[in-house]
Amino acid sequence: MSGPTSMKLASPTPVDARIRKKYLIIYFIIIFLSFIPLTIFEYYYFTLFWVSGWTWLFWLLIPFNIIAGIYILLLSSLIVSKIFIMIVNLIHKPKEGIFQRDIKDKDYLFWNIRNLIKKWPLYVAGTNPLPWLKNKFTLRIFGVRIGKNTSCDQCWISSEFITIGNNVICGISSSILSYGIERNKFYIKKINIGDNVEMGSKVVLMPGTQIGENAKISAHSYTLPGQILDVNKNYGGHPANLLEKSK
């Protein structure tokens, strides 16, 4: 059930250490800007109830103040980082394909910068104690298409080039990755997951996998990059194969 101490279920946003050193200022600017609406809210809360003499209302409304504070911080950080990402995407559009894993390579550089920008709002959403507007909400704003009635708050989903259908169940601590690194090469490929797919816990989907409707993947299995799983069939194993006697 609730997460162990060693896990914070924010979606994965790795950043190259060489690029992080250069562009770390962006990260602090985003945090600074996202705290401004919260401070304004708290200032007005204090002046309304404390300074004007309604102290009993001040103490009575504190739990609602905390809940509102969490969500104001989440929304403001999301808006700030979304604006930053729109500016970055104007400079260089995100693309699928195979790239060099170098700082000089523009796609690799801008992928890292995008991750750096997304890190703060995803962290806020991941550590939120309340179950509303978590990872699913933030990922939808960053451009991941997720359908209705999907449960995907307890797994790692990377924040771009993914579409997930309706009524999908993603198991606990499974990871859906649209990026991969191999020696000097770095690749991004789109993942498609159809409607009514069930995934077991600890499933790993590598970049480029496409899952048909009603397919099922058993627990603790992974797919090869670019693998296609058929409609209405059960898969499992290392890597995922057709199971016997599937419907």
């Binding site: 059930m1 609730s2 997460g3 162990p4 101490t5 060693s6 896990m7 103490w59 504190i62 739990p63 609602f64 905390i66 809940i67 104690p129 309340l130 179950p131 509303w132 009635n149 449960s151 708050d153 307890q154 169940i169 993603c170 198991g171 606990i172 601590s173 069930e198 995934m199 077991g200 816990s201 600890k202 099922k216 993947i217 058993s218 627990a219 603790h220 299995s221 059960n234 499992g236 194993g237 290392h238 199971l243 016997e244 006697k245």
Partner: protein, 287 residues
């Protein structure tokens, strides 16, 4: 291989019957959808914060009046408030659980989607969600054993479960068992619009390795070891005193002590081992 139910566990015949009805493979998911039941959580959250504030109001009053020495007490009070928050939450959750369980007592078995059993399982999930979250976010995470016990999980002494996902119902764990990083112990499973709930029984002195999944209905006898990266099938019974490995568990090895492995290495004639022994002999001669 995946579909064959293990027939060796004859004592679990009733469990196997349930399995054949549902024709379940190993797929074990934990589909948690948000619905109105999750508003139980808000009730606990607000109640917890209220009690924390009203117990620490006297301190805040004294601070505002200008007793500057009391600022030294603030870090202590923060630490105390964290624990007070979690234990008030668990108290409220405990009361809610008793109320819900009186209306519909929790049962093992198979439930259809949107049936009464499914609904009340979800209520129980959302009631126990926040206390477990807040305990594990605290600076003393191994205190979660106390809260699992309050929710009715039978845990023995010296149990360590704070680094994995454990369901807060239908689980018994014996003395001295250890679970390692990122293990999952489920007593529930969702497959094809059906919810299956079965009791998991883990004996004494067991070790459950990292990245394993224990699916509902499994029984671990005394002194078993579940190897790393392995899964158990539904309703599987593992023999005691052995290491079990596989996805799903299919192989088992005897547990070897360090001395036994050394003698085995000597029989195989490993060169490094010989050299070590020669070195030891020479030292003994010198003495």
């Amino acid at each position: 291989m995946y579909l064959i139910m293990n027939n060796k566990s004859s004592r679990n015949k009733e469990k196997n019957k349930i399995m054949n009805q549902a024709a379940i493979k190993i797929i074990s998911t934990s589909g948690i959808f948000k619905d109105k039941a999750s508003f139980f959580l808000l009730l606990e959250f607000i109640g917890g914060i209220f009690i924390v504030i009203y117990t620490s109001l006297w301190l805040i009053n004294y601070l505002l009046q200008g007793f500057w020495i009391l600022w030294l007490l603030v870090p202590l009070s923060v630490y105390g408030c964290l624990y007070l928050f979690t234990f008030t939450i668990t108290f409220i959750a405990f009361l809610l659980l008793r109320l819900v369980n009186k209306i519909y007592p929790p049962k093992e078995g198979i439930f259809e989607r949107n049936s009464k059993g499914w609904k009340f399982w979800r209520y129980r999930y959302w009631i126990t969600y926040l206390p477990l979250w807040s305990v594990r976010a605290l600076p003393l995470p191994w205190l979660d054993i106390a809260i699992y016990r309050i929710f009715g999980v039978k845990l023995g002494r010296n149990v360590c479960i704070y680094d994995g996902w454990v369901d807060p119902e239908f689980i018994t764990i014996g003395e001295n068992t250890m679970t390692s990083l990122n293990t999952i112990i489920h007593s529930h499973l969702i497959y094809n619009d059906k919810l299956i709930i079965q009791r998991v029984e883990i004996g004494r002195n067991c070790i459950i390795g990292p990245q394993t999944i224990v699916s509902p209905g499994t029984t671990l006898e005394e002194g078993t070891i579940l190897g790393a990266n392995s899964i158990t099938k539904i309703g599987q019974a593992l023999e005691g005193g052995k290491i079990h490995v596989g996805v799903p568990v299919s192989k088992s090895f005897p547990i070897m002590s360090i001395e036994e492995t050394e003698t085995k290495l000597a029989k195989l004639g490993v060169e490094q081992y010989k050299k070590k022994q020669e070195g030891k002999n020479q030292e003994e001669k010198k003495e």
